[in-house]
Amino acid sequence: MARRDDLRNAREKSLSGRSPTAAGRDKTKQALDWVYRWDWAAASTLDSLSGAQRRGLSARLIKHGLLKATRTECGCAVKGVPQAILTLTKLGVTEIERWREALLPYDLDPYRVRQDKIRHDQLAQSATAAALSAGRISSFSTEKELAEKSLNGLKQPDVVWQLPNGQRMGIEVELSAKWERDLDQFVLSCLKAIEKGADGRARLDMIAIVTDSPAIAKRYKAAFEPGATVGLWAKDARGRWSKNNKIKVSDWVKDKMQWRLIAD
């Protein structure tokens, strides 16, 4: 009896005054929109979005031809990599583009998805879905959406979260170490993102670096320490990269950086 009441309460809360059909349509739109923005998604991520206790939304969407599942190369051999990734079908793209205000380029070929980035992207997606469901963020923007808005080809964070207080936090998931030019350019792009421009505003209020490696965390913290040197790279006449200058990290950067070490 109590169990039935709990279920009824949960259902009423899930419906939020909508009809079951409308609620189902909204869930479909939310799932399709998610995949459209991220290019792909794991079934678990889509199901967690809907708040469903049972996994069924993804299967239903696949069944209806809106999504298609593609097995990943490593399957479940690597922790954090889903067995399959879900991408939009042509029908799914058409369906979601009916409702979206801003369109994004979408590649229908699931094999264009970089397998070496699946774990990286999955971490970002699952954390974003969890934060959104918990109300710890109010909205987010994917790298693809940010790149589409950016006119000067700036390197964008993996995802940007909008906190409830209105601040924008860029998330950088770093699972492999960067060196030399890659590290310098990574640090420089982060500094540029949080540095105030001519209009007195910065693109982002803070940057969060998320890693599962204590060594990476230590190295990157040192790279962002006030007074640390950052090399400026440019291509020479022969098209080869060379370091022609350097800058120092300012004191104020420390207050704009967040660090998150993921426990394995």
Binding site: L123, Q167, R260, I262
Partner: protein
């Protein structure tokens, strides 16, 4: 003189009669009437002369007295007012006076008495009124000097107090300025604290969100 006049008139009347025409009785009557009239007239004039002589005599005696009085008044030191000596002076200018009769000496005596009384009164007044007043005046002057000295001392003290007041005012203004600086520092600190709190809350919110990883 009256007799000579009568005689003269009679002789004239006789001459006139001797030279007149035969109607002598009438003429004589007329002449006698005229003579009688003339004689009455002469008597009246003589009476008038007598009366005037008395008046003139009294007037002369009066002027003599006035002249003596004026002489007495002017003796040694003229000090009587003109209302008393003016008639005498006028009489003297007309040749009257010059004797040293009782009016003269009366005026002199009165003058001397008056002078003596004035002198005595002055001396008495000096000793009874002025001398004490002088003492009082000297004491008052001494008191005034004391007061003036006190006033000067009070002015010096007031000037000293004014300097102190100005100094106190300057220190008050400095204190107020310092207080305002402190208030501003407090406002800045509060603003800073609010900013730190805001940053802390932002960091908390960020950490809270990142815990979803």
């Amino acid at each position: 003189m009256a007799t000579n006049r009568r005689l003269t008139v009679a002789v004239m009347a006789a001459a006139l009669l001797s030279a007149c025409a035969p109607d002598d009785a009438e003429r004589t009557q007329k002449l006698e009437a005229a003579n009688h009239a003339l004689g009455a007239r002469i008597a009246a004039l003589e009476q008038q002369l007598h009366d005037q002589h008395a008046v003139r005599q009294a007037e002369l005696e009066y002027l003599e007295r006035q002249a003596s009085i004026a002489a007495g008044c002017d003796f040694l030191l003229p000090m009587y007012p003109a209302s008393i000596t003016a008639p005498g002076h006028k009489a003297r200018s007309e040749g009257l006076g010059g004797g040293a009769g009782w009016p003269f000496w009366l005026a002199v005596i009165l003058k001397l008495a008056g002078l003596g009384g004035l002198l005595t009164g002055s001396v008495a007044a000096w000793y009874w009124l002025v001398a004490p007043q002088r003492k009082t005046t000297t004491a008052a002057q001494a008191a005034i000097q004391d007061v003036q000295k006190n006033v000067e001392d009070a002015k010096k003290t007031a000037a000293m107090h004014e300097d102190k007041a100005l100094d106190a005012k300057r220190r008050t203004e400095e204190t107020l300025a310092e207080l305002e600086n402190t208030r501003q520092a407090i406002r800045n600190a509060r603003h800073e604290l609010a900013k730190i709190e805001s940053d802390r809350q932002s960091a908390e919110a960020a950490k809270d969100a990142l815990s979803c990883f």
